[in-house]
């Protein structure tokens, strides 16, 4: 057991720190400063800003750190990737764009794609020249992904696809999407699904954005009307796409950046607690709130070391997919409690939205309070499904459905 990093890894950390110190000076004045007015996260200005920053990260070799060199990656290990995420969060720097491309589509193509697909897609995923969306779930099939209805019928060299996907992430601005379709309606549900790469600019693809309850309006619904997808865009074997997709879900598991993000939130809250007086004393002295504050810190530390244990297993090549859900469930539910705590700390100001007079940190806490109700416990499989996976595949309990 050793929580120190190797000289090579420490050198990499120094490189990241040095680069961030140098380049973060070029960030716009509103970055990380709620008191300075800046563009809305959904605006074109913000989009240009995040692509500009992505390009800088990319040029410095910080996108696709653990990807093979031949596909444009750095060829380093998951440790360097984890260290990078940690430093990025610690410096409160913006991250890369194309999250679905880098986190989901790319790893799947690396694991299951053809050589042609790898050459065609991987470099442009990292450079963000092509943005990806994810079209797995449907209005009628979310947790039970094997129940999807979108149909693909073979016609010559193509699949012809009809159906509807929702929610798909930022599909309006996507060039490509990873797509699950039913190719054999007569096979057992899990064995009649194929994994395709969908050109979002193809004829018959219609995208309709909608808003989440936190105000985020970048997410979409996608309608597929006789869309022709060449068979060369099939990933893995026909009818076995469900298992390719399950593999994809298993990539999303380093939580070190998220842990540092939580530390940042807690440290911000401590500062707020020290300058907020109630009953004649700062909130940081309130014994009840101190208990709760400490509990958030404790959960953060526990998650950090759960994550490092998982990372060690992963580096040893052990199958960590099902086990990673232990940390995911805890992290998802824990961040909701933390965001709820934050609103209680700022009191009546907690209900003031971005742009409002008197809003604390320009409504940052309100937004993240609402946001925490989505992805943490629902996205990437709700915690109920994750608990089922833990019960069945970690503990060996019988199937419940």
């Amino acid at each position: 057991m050793d929580f120190n990093y190797s000289p090579q890894e420490e050198a990499f950390r120094r490189e990241v720190r040095g680069w961030l110190a140098e380049n973060m000076r070029e960030l716009p004045p509103w970055w990380g400063r709620p008191d300075v007015p800046g563009p809305d996260v959904d605006s074109d200005e913000y989009r240009h800003f995040s692509f500009w920053w992505h390009r800088k990260l990319y040029d410095a070799g910080f996108v696709g750190i653990a990807w093979p060199k031949e596909y444009g990656g750095r060829g380093a290990t998951l440790i360097e990737q984890a260290l990078f995420n940690e430093e990025l969060a610690r410096h409160r720097a913006p991250g890369p764009v194309n999250v679905i491309g880098i986190g989901w589509a790319g790893p799947t193509i690396i694991a299951a794609g053809t050589e042609e697909q790898k050459k065609r897609f991987l470099p442009k995923i990292l450079s963000a020249e092509e943005i990806w969306a994810q079209a797995f779930s449907e209005p009628g099939a979310g947790s039970d992904l094997a129940g999807i209805q979108t149909r693909a019928v073979e016609d010559g060299d193509d699949f012809v696809v009809n159906g509807q996907k929702w929610p798909t992430g930022a599909a309006e601005r996507a060039d490509w999407a990873i797509l699950l379709v039913r190719t054999d309606p007569d096979a057992p549900r899990h064995r009649g699904i194929s994994y395709l790469l969908l050109d979002m600019h193809a004829p018959g693809v219609t995208v309709r954005p909608f808003r989440w309850m936190d105000g985020d309006s970048s997410n979409c619904e996608v309608f597929l009307d006789n869309v022709r997808i060449p068979k060369t865009m099939l990933v893995g074997k026909k009818n076995l796409g469900f298992y390719v997709a399950m593999g994809t879900l298993e990539f999303e598991r380093s939580q070190l950046g998220a842990t540092v993000g939580r530390e940042n939130i807690i440290n911000d809250l401590i500062r707020t607690m020290k300058r907020t007086e109630r009953d004649g004393q700062p909130l940081s002295q309130d014994p009840v709130l101190r208990q709760e504050l400490a509990q958030h810190w404790i959960e953060t530390k526990v998650m950090k070391y759960m994550g490092l244990r998982m990372l060690t297993s992963q580096l040893k090549g052990e199958a960590t997919g099902p086990k990673a859900n232990l940390g995911f469930v805890m992290a998802g539910e824990s961040i909701q409690r933390l965001q709820d705590f934050a609103i209680r700390i700022i009191g009546p100001y907690g209900q003031l939205a971005r742009g409002s007079k008197h809003a604390v940190d320009n409504g940052r806490w309100l937004r993240s309070y609402l946001t925490s109700r989505g992805v943490p416990t629902i996205g990437g499989g709700p915690v109920e499904i994750k608990r089922n996976i833990i019960a069945m595949r970690v503990l060996g309990l019988p199937r419940s459905y």
């Binding site: 929580f3 014994p287 101190r290 400490a294 810190w297 759960m306 244990r309 019960a391 503990l395």
Partner: protein, 381 residues
Amino acid sequence: MNFSLNEEQVMLKTSARNFLEKECPKRLVREMAANKQGYSPELWKKLAELGWMGLVFPEEYGGVGSTFLDLTVVLEEMGRVLVPGPFVPTVVLAGRPILAAGTEQQKRRLIPGIANGSIIATLAFLEAGGELAASAINVRGTTHGEDFIIDGTKLFVPDAHVADYILCVIRTGDGVSKEEGVTLLLVDAKTVGIHTEVLKTLTGEKLCEVVFSNVMVPRGNILGVLGNGWQIVQRILDEAAVAECAWMTGGAQWILETTVNYARERLAFGQPIGSFQAVAHRCANMAIEVEGAISITQYAAWAISENDPEASAAASVAKAWCSEMYKHVAGDGIQVHGATGFTWDHDLNLYFKRAKTSEIAFGDGRYHRERVAAYITGEGN
């Protein structure tokens, strides 16, 4: 970065598991709860022969020269089967501070005996207030020539009735702060004036009331520096907390495995109860808490082994987490077992009771959360 046990630690764990499964059945645990001495001298001798008492002491004092982390590997296995007896008091509460703060002569006199199992020792810390604070130390030691005279009552002293030495936390002076004037004294348990009475406890573990009436202790028995003992006490508490965490983590794993096995086999409405999500999700929650406990305890043990500056904070984080975890897991284990789990005969109740004792020992969740709060805000309360 490598967060896993090394090959030797895995071997130590496996051999400890095999040995204890054979040598410490639940029958023995139950017997010792009712037994006056509270431990089996035969098992104690075997543990000594395996070198467990000497694990964390250097070879020059008859030990094995392993790390605190190695010790927690063994403690986890001991906690898994609830080994009765004065192992933690002897090794962690007394042996470790003697090694850390003792004079060469004190170390030579006591550690070889601790390491070979011939000396049983313990720590007398809590008093009537039941509080882990310097302000709660009121048992007095007054100077009398070359001796100290101790008067007062210590409570909840583990295994004092079988101990050869009692490391005693006393007040020898009053400074500006309550921490000043606290002194540690090594007391021969057979000294005239010491009266020990075993209290009747939840688990049958032997916690004692120790009354000191005019007890003479030579000045040479001070551990560390007169009036400066609180620093040593803090280190003892950190190590004891992490040792308890390892113990709890082992027990919790037994509960989880036993409960999952039961949920796989027990039928209701024609199917295994583990196929009902109400039960399955309860088991998943247990697994999450246990995985957290293993991770944070191993980290805290590593931090102590390495004298990491974060060790004390890590100990509090771990103890706060494990205290709640063990209680939840033990309660959930009973719940999944239904009425069976609530019986006297089912072993689950031994763990449920121990979970409460472990929560109380060396600071409960509330105590350690306040320590964490002080650490992260930089402000006491």
